[in-house]
Point group: C2
Chain length 194, copies 2
């Protein structure tokens, strides 16, 4: 029984990896179950053995990215300490999760459509952004962040910078190990020498 | 004759505005001349009177964004003074051009494909980024920027922040008049209060 569960979850896991690659290449709307079957090298009925269809695969894939992102907000360093330090932790860890779960976060950031699952993903992304915006607001209130930039605008620009990574980062690229640090240094300290 | 030229150029201008909207909504690949004819409310032969086809419309549209961006690099404040001040000018003006030419820059940033025009647009975007990366490098050399962030990485994160604006900015949105200032303040000074 345990053996079976392990094999079954391995299969969903590897199916998901293939699915995410195909969704990112062709777009969710442009991908058929036929495409997934071909890319995974297994029959459509084998896929249906594990999931109800394409939309469930999308939910599992973006769910993985969302769980990783929301997990950050529950980490001790995100809930204890000065607001600015908690914010810095969240920014650094968001960049780390983005690199560790690159295809899943890429898919999440490209979700646009009108299915229930896509609407749910957009809603959870907004929740996450909102939680971070609250942290920015808290840090402004504590006098730890500059007050001349509006908190929601600052949050958007901050995520714009972090999320842009999915557009240009290629795994193994030189200098990528320093990426989360660079994001934190730029976001909190700015480019200018002091 | 002058009257004719004015009418003709007005027509191309308004055709372009419609084209860019449709390209941004449906994607360049997903748009047919039929779609453009319908959206513009003029016949396909009227469109062909002005341009050779869809690819020429793309070239005119992304060319408009590219001309505006390269125009920044020729402005007096981009060529005279300390490197850090020139860089700051370029960053502020890039944000301003993005807002002023939002649909055109959005289209430029979404170009991905394999036509000659798309390849040309990608190449010119890389040129622009490269010119800015040189300015970053120059400012680092002059000791005006922090040295612990690699210049190419800094340039990418900087543009990631600026370019993200096309994803979330809606014309007329509250607080948008302060956007170029906010970008400059965040990019050069960072979020942290001093």
């Amino acid at each position: 029984m345990a053996e079976n569960l392990t094999r079954a979850s391995y299969t969903v896991e590897s199916l998901l990896a293939v699915t995410v690659r195909v969704f990112n290449e062709r777009g969710y709307d442009g991908t058929s179950m036929e495409d997934l079957s071909r890319a995974a090298g297994i029959s459509k009925s084998s896929i249906y053995h594990h999931v109800r269809g394409k939309e469930e695969l999308l939910r599992l894939a973006v769910g993985r990215a969302l769980d990783a992102l929301f997990g950050i907000l529950a980490e001790p360093k995100a809930v204890e300490g000065r607001p600015v330090d908690r914010l810095e932790h969240v920014v650094r860890r968001t960049a780390e999760v983005l690199l560790a779960e690159l295809p899943y976060v890429t898919l999440l950031l490209r979700v646009r459509g009108n299915t229930t699952t896509e609407q749910w993903a957009l809603e959870r992304r907004r929740d996450f952004d909102h939680r971070v915006a609250e942290l920015v607001q808290e840090a402004v209130g504590a006098g730890e962040l500059r007050v001349d930039v509006e908190p929601r605008l600052a949050t958007r620009l901050l995520f714009g910078m972090i999320n842009s990574v999915v557009e240009w980062y290629r795994p193994g690229q030189r200098g990528s190990e320093g990426l989360p640090d660079a994001v934190v240094q730029l976001a909190f300290g700015g480019l200018r020498a002091r």
